[in-house]
């Protein structure tokens, strides 16, 4: 093999990333659910024939980190030699995929002439997959995954380009909003189609041998970049513990613990010290745990300087014994596991805060992912309103935390105008919560609050959040972020404090208020410059009371 010039490597790498991004555009533009088409709750990746992830569209890290395992599981059921051009395999098994049933994976082999040269994979969060409650991620009353909806092991959705009618009909019969679910699955199919063609033509342009050499080089260069950066962290074992409030009304807190072992350019994340799996919808299946360990590794090392691929996960080992909260065994449920996405990097950051303070952030505000369902009086049809709001990002060693931003994932805020068009609701407010961020030399980011009024005759909300009891941690003298709250009818005579994971019946005119928790501060609040405190006061980020209690500053 002749030496390949650096420009060719760059072009192929750029094209691999842009194929994934263009597939993402296709999903967005043809999807039916607001969560996918506006929020972007889906992911894309491109693999070579050996099943190595070469590129991804930077969307949902939970899907992305799990993809190499998901595709491996799909290929076990459908070995390469049995696959035909135009086949699409789907799967939503929570243990084989990314840890809860709403995440559907679609995979297609890519052919150049008669040979498989790669795979394209698209996954998306479906707004409903059946189960005990609409949205399929309710926590209250769930003890095992059979209550959470329909589960597909790898099955054919398209056979040589022809839809498999049985599968479509089974899905239609088992989900509450079939039009949206089938529509979103077809959006994934569209992406596989265009991405497959683009990847095939890339192989045709460069030839399989040359392409493979370039792929090897991309993965090796990427791996080296991560290793070089990890080598700069002092060797040692670093441990951190935090607590999940509970796993539903009337349950106990769960201990979340990690030991990070740094040895030269290798890093191990060991969750053995965490509590066992729970009999609830909140557990972190191993692929999900891995996915966010990969996210954390990248955030600690190469950040967004180079595009993600499988080379960058080679130095990482994830340890979690069977039956652990971070590696539950069947039939553990996990519908609400999305709450844990940011918690995995937070544990890791907490562990490394002493030895690598400039690489981490303080604890971040907890996001919320409530689902309201009912009958839309405008159409007489069932609606499932999948909503989310984000906390903020924890403060860093050199900057305030950003308010109203997820610390880990790339979901976009769904515009209120789109939500009100689609569902029988009025959003009364959506804002940034004053005083929610922890104090410090650098202040923690503030979280969002939102009030939703119900226009349907009756409806139901399945709340999903955390940190209503334990705030996100501050670092190096910074204080914790404020805890979050969920309130039913906040303006009424008798407002009801809602549990962060409870399910509540709603009637027309009811208002649900969600408040995300705030993020932790970094450094001693006494060192915060006066002008920064004054600006926070002027811009409504802190109250006069907080200026006095947290920073000892009287206004005026």
């Amino acid at each position: 093999m002749s030496e390949i010039d650096a420009l060719t490597v760059s072009v192929i790498w750029g094209r691999l990333v842009s194929i994934a991004e263009e597939m993402g555009v296709t999903v967005r533009r043809t999807a039916y659910s607001e969560a996918v088409r506006e929020g972007g709750d889906f992911s894309i990746a491109v693999f070579d024939a050996a099943g190595r992830m070469l590129s991804q569209a930077d969307l949902s890290p939970g899907h992305l980190g799990a993809m190499p395992f998901a595709i491996g599981n799909m290929l076990k059921s459908y070995p390469r030699e049995t696959l035909k051009s135009g086949d699409i395999i789907i799967m939503n098994d929570l243990y084989m995929g990314s840890g809860h049933l709403p995440d559907f994976y679609c995979m297609s082999p890519v052919f150049l002439e008669l040979n498989i040269v790669g795979f394209v994979v698209a996954s998306a969060h479906m707004v409903d997959v059946g189960g005990i409650k609409a949205g399929s991620q309710a926590v209250e009353g769930v003890t095992e995954r059979f209550q959470e909806g329909i589960c597909f092991p790898p099955v054919k959705f398209y056979d040589a380009g022809v839809p498999v009618g049985e599968i479509t009909r089974i899905i239609e019969a088992n989900v509450r909003v079939p039009t949206k679910v089938i529509g979103d699955l077809k959006a994934l199919r569209n992406a596989l189609h265009s991405g497959g063609q683009a990847l095939s033509s890339l192989f045709a342009t460069y030839g399989v041998e040359r392409f493979t050499a370039v792929a090897n080089r991309i993965l090796d260069q990427s791996e080296k970049a991560v290793r070089d950066s990890l080598s700069e962290i002092p060797d040692g074992d670093y441990t951190y513990e935090d607590w999940l409030d509970d796993v539903g009304p009337g349950t106990e807190p769960v201990k979340l613990a990690v030991t990070v072992r740094v040895r030269g350019s290798e890093i191990v994340f060991d969750f053995s010290g965490s509590d066992p799996q729970t009999a609830s919808a909140i557990n972190s299946p191993l692929n999900f745990t891995r996915a966010y360990c990969y996210w954390a590794t990248k955030a600690l090392t190469t950040r967004n300087e180079i595009p993600q691929n499988q080379g960058q996960t080679r130095p990482v080992t994830v340890v979690a014994p069977d039956g652990n909260f971070f590696n539950p065994s069947a039939p553990a449920a996990a519908g609400g596991r999305a709450m844990l996405n940011q918690r995995i990097p937070e544990l890791i950051f907490g562990a490394l805060a002493q030895v690598a303070p400039e690489r981490v952030t303080a604890g971040s505000g907890q996001w919320a992912n409530p689902i309201i369902n009912g009958i839309d009086p405008r159409t007489g049809q069932r609606f499932v309103f999948y909503d989310y709001l984000v906390g903020g990002v924890g403060a860093r060693a050199s900057a305030d935390g950003t308010s109203a931003l997820s610390p880990v994932f790339s979901l976009e805020n769904i515009p209120v105008e789109i939500q009100e068009n689609a569902y029988p609701i009025i959003v009364e407010s959506l804002g940034i919560l004053c005083d929610s961020g922890g104090a410090g030399r650098y202040r923690g980011g503030l979280g969002l609050y939102k009030e939703v009024r119900i226009l349907a005759e009756s409806a139901e909300v399945s709340n999903l959040s955390d940190r209503h009891k334990n705030g996100s941690y501050g670092l190096h003298g910074g204080t914790n972020g404020n805890v979050g709250r969920s309130i039913l009818n906040p303006g009424a005579d008798r407002p009801v404090a809602m549990h962060s994971k409870g399910t509540y019946a709603l009637k027309k005119g009811d208002v649900v208020r969600y408040e995300c928790s705030g993020s932790g501060g970094f450094g001693d609040p006494k060192e915060r410059p006066r002008h920064a405190i004054e600006e926070d006061l002027r811009e409504g980020r802190i109250s006069e009371g907080a200026a006095l209690t947290a920073y000892g500053m009287r206004s005026g």
Binding site: G14, R29, E420
Partner: protein, 699 residues
Amino acid sequence: MTETTAKERRSAKRIAIDIGGTFTDLALIDDDGLVVTHKRLTTPRDPVEGFVEGVSELLALAGISPSLVREIRHATTLGSNVVIERLGAPVAFVTTKGFGDVLQIQKAVRYSIYDTRMRKPEPLVPRSRTWEINERMMASGEILRPLDPEETSRVVSQIRAAGARAVAVGFLHSYANPLHEERVKEVFAREAPEIDVTLSSEVSQMAKEYARFNTAVTNAYLAPIFRDYLSRIEAAFRARGVSAPLWILQSSGGLTSSERAAALPVRSIESGPTAGVIMAARRSNLSGFDNVISFDMGGTTAKASIVTNGRPTISRSFEIDRLEMRNGSGLPLDTLAVDLIEIGSGGGSIAQVTAGALQVGPRSAGSEPGPVCYARGGKEPTVTDAALVLGYLDASSFAGGKMRLDRDAAVEALAALGGRLGLDAVQAAWGVHQLVCLNMERATRLISIDKGLDPRDYAMICFGGAGPVHAARLARGLGVKQMIVPAGAGVGSALGLLSSLEKTELARTSKVLVDGDCIVATARQIFSDLRRQAASTMGRDPADPRLLARHIVGLRYIGQGYELEIELPPVWDEGLGTKLRDAFGALYSNVYGYAENLPLEATTWRIALESMEPNLDEKLSMERAEGRPALKRQRRAYFGETGETQIDVYDRYAMGAEDRAIGPCVIEERDTTTVLLPGDVGRIDEHGAIIIEIGKAAQ
């Protein structure tokens, strides 16, 4: 370009003026199709001064009386500069109660998902200058809570007291019913007429509150500045006896009247760089190239854009002030714009030593004080100083010999810079030259390689005063094999303006099921309405046959959130519904692979009205200097490939079709110099463009 002697009673069909950060480029075309160009330094403290003086100089050069100018066209970087440097008017924002944080929350998207240091863009209005009003529209356009006139008056007086010069009003669902926004505007008109008011429903009819509100806020931020600017230009011209109408280039590449540009400056925010891309598309097309990278390097910035199949790429919305072109890192605007990337690498970019390493830009010496060699007080060496020291520019023929450069001062400044790194002046200049080319290479990669386009499949058209000086090295870095230096490259943007067309686009949202005859009636009604509106903003009769209309409908399967656009056929009869279904099905399956048998709805209706005019480009003839030798002289220049060497200096105006310039050499013209590296071969084509084969002689 034809240099002419004064002719009595000659009238200027139009004048084009492009004001950049360092240079102001001008061009005029007379009734016979003869073109005269001019270049001068920008007057940053008061661009109006340079504008008016520049036009006077151009007219004197052409020998045309001011009263015989029929039209003035203008492209400006004012809008984007004001936003990027956050220099706009103090703006207040009025919005629906409960939504005062929309500009701070933004899309809330992690545009760099792995970067914990990621920041959101800084909004143009802080939370402390945002007012909420207790009103509410529903998604259907029905009023949920009526606007309270007393509360509105109270807010208006508070905003007045806070010293706002402009206000943006953004209420939820105003695209469905703008009544409340319009009421607030009336109250401002009555009670605070000195404050500019922009309504979100005036700038965009799209749902999705953040982008629409931000578009309104950006418009308000720019409005007082644009209004002052344009009215001062017009006043200054009137004082000099010029009564010609002023046209402004919009980001979409279409021209609009100055009144409309003053009311909707957000649509002209990328006016400056757009003119060059229009020129690039037209001129490269003329020389036989359909797919080109447009590379425009002026005094302050460099711009790159991709032209595919002879057309610039146009987006329906874009983000201003983006970081590394990442979606979500800038401020979103619901306006049409030519896709391009702009970076702070120009001839005036300052070189300095930071942490023991040489660094170039993004700080610029601009036109005041300018590069050291301009001898206008500049002390820090720039990219232009480096080019002069390397022998790429000539001290006595810069700007057609109008501006004498001080080479000794440039050598001294570069020697001082190099001294800190143990380099002599030439070595330091070579470093500066290479670095600025690398910066531009990186930017060009973002719009080509990072989108999976291989620059080796593209030719490069380069222009702007500094473009042809640096392009051959940039082309090598990118693997580009052919380079085009169009006639008048040094004032390329002004030439682009000369050939731009007046264009208005209007869109409306209205959901209609595509299933039968009803679509024909709806199309007729909506489009005749849109045509009337669009023609009236152009000051034209809707029946004017010189207006070319394109009718475009956005269609989707019911339940989807995004449309595909189909252009309507010329005849709308009962078969229209079927034609639309077929066309949509074919397009959908072409784009996404599969067509569905699902109900289809039309949601957006868009008219693009363009004023038809003959294409001027064929007429822009190259100035010729018959009888003069093409080879002017020789001089010393430095190239990394050869070291210091003797090079040929060609006179562009004297080069004929048979002449070949073999690099290393330079081809000089009035407003720029084209540098050919060792092995490059240049020739002049029949349209006066220099076509350069990169590295051809070396093969």
